[in-house]
């Protein structure tokens, strides 16, 4: 197992190097770079230097006068030393900006994922044990509806119903107007209530595919021979489903969990934008359109690391739920 993990880590490092290079390449090739925009603004100030001079000066200042390969290695060396540089757009160290905005995105992502898992597992099993019944059709149709709904449409619908008509939640933002005057608990509840609609949006648009996945897996497991054996033992069907069946559905679910690890930190651009929540998705998007190379590099590299780590973790987690992977040996 240790040997396997080492090998996987080595492969992951190789993949990561290529990914980081591709990110840098793409960021450099983006048209309308940060430097050009800044040079345009600076050159329009009365009595300023002409545009070309500004561009040359700024390029040297930001290290963009080097070639792409050379620039990449400078950037890589800095990153390896743990120096991710300052964000150009936000004018502060990227790690500082990142830690400011990651919290709310992580909470949103984690709560949404937890809800998705619980709902998807419950509904998936519910539908699978009643295959082709009206309840099954209801659940699967609902799931399909959730998958098909565009985020912006559903979010707008939620806002219309819960904010405009019912007035239960604020339309947007992370905190209310009187946030500063509230007690610490009051502040917590204020933020929590502002996150209800965004989290609901996230859950509804992504729970469907997970639920269908659970349902399909459960159906496959329920038709397995060992389920018939369990029934033949005289076991109540609830125990058959939850004890014998569910343990086996966990195996494919673990893969999904591993791959959703980066999702916890990636933020959600559309939802955050729609609800004006200053999370990482929104911040990274702003940094990217401004051509902020250090911030984008940090964000995208971080996600690449998490993706690779997630894959590795789900492979390791397999061995916890599936004894066939854990032990491997054949006896007798």
């Amino acid at each position: 197992m240790a040997k396997y993990i080492c090998k996987r880590l080595g492969i992951s490092a190789g993949i990561l190097l290529v990914v980081v290079f591709l990110i840098y390449l793409l960021m450099r090739l983006l048209p309308g770079s940060y430097v050009e925009n800044m040079a345009i603004q600076l050159s329009q100030v009365p009595g300023a230097k002409p545009y070309e001079e500004w561009v040359a000066q700024l390029n040297a200042q930001y290290g963009l006068d080097k070639g792409i390969v050379e620039g990449f290695f400078v950037q890589l060396m800095n990153m390896l030393r743990g120096n991710f540089g300052d964000s150009w757009k936000y004018a502060m160290p990227v790690t500082e900006k990142f830690s400011q905005v990651i919290g709310v995105s992580f909470v949103m992502g984690a709560v949404a994922l937890a809800l998705e898992l619980v709902i998807a597992t419950f509904l998936g099993i519910y539908a699978a044990t009643r295959q082709y019944s009206p309840q099954d059709y209801l659940v699967t149709t609902g799931a399909l509806l959730g998958i098909s709904l565009p985020t912006f449409f559903f979010a707008t619908l939620l806002k219309l119903v819960f904010s405009v008509k019912l007035g239960w939640f604020d339309l947007s933002g992370l905190v209310g107007r009187n946030f500063q005057s509230l007690s610490p608990w009051g502040q917590f509840w204020d933020m929590a209530s502002h996150l209800v609609l965004p989290v609901l949006t996230l859950v509804v648009v992504s729970v469907g595919s997970l639920m269908r996945y659970v349902r399909t897996n459960m159906l496959e497991v329920l038709s397995a021979d060992y389920i018939r054996t369990a029934r033949a033992k005289g076991m109540p069907s609830s125990r058959v489903v939850f004890f014998h069946g569910f343990r086996n559905t966990l195996i494919p679910l673990v893969t999904i969990l591993g791959s959703s690890l980066p999702g916890l930190f990636a933020g959600s651009l559309i939802t955050e934008t729609l609800f004006a929540i200053p999370g990482i998705g929104y911040t990274a998007y702003q940094a990217m359109i401004a051509g902020d190379i250090p911030f984008s590099m940090f964000y995208l590299t971080f996600l690449a690391v998490l993706t690779l780590l997630g894959n590795l973790l789900s492979d390791i987690a397999y061995s916890f739920v599936d004894p066939r992977v854990r032990l491997g040996g054949q006896y007798g």
């Binding site: 021979d225 054996t229 033949a232 033992k233 006896y331 007798g332």
Partner: protein, 339 residues
């Protein structure tokens, strides 16, 4: 209660009478089992033989109440089980009551030991479960565990403690089938259904498993319904033989009667198809033609089109059962004059 009934003969553990099972498929309604009747006396082995798809397994699953729902359903007949006092008609016994009988009074060994055990639960725990569900004599974890170890020993596993902790994938096919048998006999069932218990195993292991079943029958005194398509197994194990073809019983009798004087042309052909050790044969005998389509069964004898003895009466209705002796019956016009 409507599901309690009387056995025709108190000496039987199982009586199946005129059982009808249908499956709704896309091609139409398939009558997998059509009017099957036979019984399993206490402490004896009944061999149920026939080719693949003739309804052997469906019959056994009907007894267990494990037909695939909602496609498969019992549309008629009675299955009477005798657990000792009251007899149950399993056809209309509610699921809750069936659960109490399954694994306790009637249990089953499946064909595929490779897939019939849950891959993520250790084999010992899987046997523990049956004891926990049915046997009130063992209430503590330790008591259940020691009973499981006892059972593992009983089914011929040399190192019960070691095997207890292992998962199915760590065991060979023969070992897994022993585990399955241990699970099936855990609560001293009155009836053990073995659905082709040796089909997936190689010949030496097959012999061991059959010997094990034979010993267990003597030790536990339970009736065994042995489903197989191997006539050699039937000859060695069974007391009675039931031959099925296309969902119907074509012939039944004691093992001596069936092997010495097979009466139905299908049984005769089956016997001929079995290769004999020490006899030179260039070509193995095979029955010509094929089994009729189960969706549109012919109005006459189902075997007529493949039968070498067919004559005019065979074009008439499906032949009724004819008794050749108190224990031997056959459904064939050829025997109509002898019955």
């Amino acid at each position: 209660m409507a599901y309690l009934t009387q056995m025709k003969n108190r000496e039987n553990v199982l009586e199946i009478e005129n059982l009808q099972v249908q499956f709704d498929t896309e091609g139409g309604i398939v009558r997998s089992v059509d009017g099957v009747s036979f019984s399993v006396p206490k402490g004896s082995v009944v061999g149920l033989v026939g080719e693949s798809g003739c309804g052997k397994s469906v019959t056994s699953l009907s007894v267990m109440g494990l037909l695939q729902k909602p496609q498969g359903k019992i549309t008629g007949g009675e299955i009477r089980l005798n657990p000792g006092e009251n007899a149950y008609n399993l056809v209309n016994t509610p699921e809750k009551v069936l659960q109490k009988l399954r694994g306790d009074v009637v249990s089953m060994v499946f064909q595929e030991p490779m897939t019939a055990l849950n891959p993520v639960i250790s084999v010992g725990k899987q046997i523990d479960e049956v004891i926990f569900l049915h046997d009130t004599r063992y209430r503590t974890k330790e008591a259940i565990r020691s009973r499981t170890l006892e059972l593992l020993k009983l089914v011929g596993i040399a190192n019960p403690q070691g095997i207890y902790k292992l998962y199915p994938h760590q065991l060979s096919g023969g070992m897994r089938q022993r585990i399955m048998i241990g699970m099936a006999i855990a609560c001293n069932p009155r009836l053990l259904i073995a659905d082709e218990p040796t089909t997936a195993l190689d010949v030496t292991i097959q012999a061991q498993i059959l010997e094990l079943l034979q010993n267990l029958k003597q030790e536990l005194g339970c009736g065994i319904l042995l489903i197989t398509h191997d006539l050699g197994v039937v000859a060695g194990m069974a007391d009675f033989v039931v031959v099925m073809y296309a969902g119907r019983v074509v012939e039944k009798g004691t093992v001596a009667e069936i092997f010495a004087q097979p009466a139905h042309p299908y049984t005769i052909a089956l016997m001929k198809a079995k290769p004999v050790v020490g006899q030179q044969q260039d070509r193995l005998y095979a029955i010509g033609g094929k089994v009729p389509n189960p969706v549109e069964l012919p109005p006459h004898c189902y075997f007529k089109d493949r039968c070498s003895h067919a004559f005019e009466p065979c074009a008439g209705d499906y032949p009724c059962e004819i008794s050749l002796s108190p224990t031997h019956t056959v459904s064939c016009y050829k025997e109509a004059g002898n019955g």
